[in-house]
Symmetry: C2
Subunit: 277 residues, 2 copies
């Protein structure tokens, strides 16, 4: 079983709407802090099972909203689901991740049916231009691995993200100022990305504001992802752009294309950002 | 009291988390079918009261996700709220609108603090170009008012929306093909638009796909709105654009500027769309 599938596995309880999950330390962004897209994908898998259990026929997440309330810890958690609607075109599920009686993440998931190989009827979005994969590079070892120390667990070891070197100036304190990160994406173990995994990929890059200004972490308050197509096997291209920074908030938008150059997912988020001055 | 404030008024029950509302027929998009942005703004007002009741200090909605489960009827409804988090920067509320035991709308609301007169620290978005207000025009009487009959109730009578004539070709069966609607916006009674009312304005134009292809109604499955600034008094400018149409779904994005040309709100939605062939 691929690492992603194992880490996002859900175990239904007898009621068919509550799911046990085990948050893995291989999918964290820092000590005991699971990656947000990983949490969303796990909830997306629980919602899929809940829809099927309620007689819904939709196999793919097509829209997801997620609010991060408080970060869960690595380890066991519960996902409670409520199927709000089973429809012909779409089914809708409210999902909540809890540890103890603490709500950690709240999500609304909409499921639909995407057809493999679909092409746009209108509004094709050309893929971001990127140097070839072998001319792009990773961000280096995760923080904490400096000086030859063993790298702490990080989701960055579970993925193969190769950035356009032109947007990696922030690693040496010289952001380009463009507010845009561009990268190739694969899972490290070669698992192909399917619609469910796109919920994870939608939030798999560092903050796009790193390409503008050096700040502390940029916590996502609320993220929305749309899955638009079943990706063709192979590497994905991601463009992640900062919008407007104002009043301590920033909006960031991602677009994801498959190997064939088809737009397969979009996301937008609003995050809290403390800028100097 | 302005019509919008009256129509979105909420009455707290003793528990302080459940609110009675009265959905007004002056805010419908068709017979007995309240406008989606109107429903969201009403829930936004309930969430604001719930945050204040829980000791939260945030006066403005800054992000809202909404899923339309089934349309409520005009008349009394309930909004149940649950404050998930009261924070220093942001507070988060889950809200649900019900009629009887039927969930009609589910929303996640994030509240924060916007500062009047703020300007972008980075990423200014220049306002859409529009002919002067007096060279733009409305869509004409609502459907059902043809042949001199009295117009049925419609939210279009509660607002003063003036479109760039270049994007109104769809009214005579000749959409421009650009997938973009541009309009000036005011409330008909002159009420200024504040952050709460922006939740309504974020979904106040017809589907942007009308500028591409003639279809039936384009039901929104899921909408996300970000409020970015306290608007200066005066008319707003709205640009509403269709993204990609594929697999029976379309994404549509709106941007809203105030009289000073500052971006005050953004929204994105995914809607179901049946296209010919």
């Amino acid at each position: 079983m691929a690492a992603f599938d194992e880490a996002t596995a859900v175990q239904a309880r007898a009621d068919g709407t509550t799911f046990d999950v085990e948050l893995g330390e291989a999918w964290t962004i820092g000590p005991d802090r699971p990656n947000g897209g990983y949490l969303l994908a796990t909830m997306g898998r629980a919602g899929l099972a809940a829809v099927a259990g309620a007689g819904g026929a939709q196999p793919h997440p097509i829209a997801a909203n997620v609010s991060y309330v408080t970060s869960p810890s690595v380890g066991p958690a519960l996902v409670e689901t409520e199927v709000l609607r089973v429809g012909r075109t779409a089914s809708q599920v409210r999902a909540r991740m809890l540890q103890g009686d603490r709500t950690c993440v709240d999500a609304m998931l909409t499921y639909g049916t995407l057809h493999e190989g679909s092409d746009p009827w209108w509004g094709e979005v050309p893929p971001v231009e990127l140097p070839p994969e072998d001319e792009c590079r990773g961000m280096g070892p995760p923080p904490g691995a400096e000086g030859g120390r063993q790298a702490p667990p990080s989701f960055r070891l579970s993925v193969d993200e190769r950035f356009d070197p032109a947007c990696l100036g922030f690693l040496s304190g010289e952001p380009s100022g463009g507010g845009e990160l561009r990268a190739w994406f694969r899972f490290a173990d070669g698992r192909d990305v399917d619609p469910l995994a796109l919920l994870f990929v939608a939030d798999a890059l560092p903050p796009a504001t790193f390409d503008i200004v050096s700040t502390g972490w940029v916590p996502t308050l609320n993220l929305t992802a749309y899955v638009r197509a079943v990706p063709a096997p192979g590497p994905l291209r991601i463009r992640f752009r900062a919008g407007m920074i104002q009043d301590g908030l920033v909006d960031e938008t991602s677009e994801i294309w498959d190997r064939r150059g088809r737009l397969v997912a979009q996301s937008t988020q609003v995050a809290a950002l403390r800028v100097p001055g």
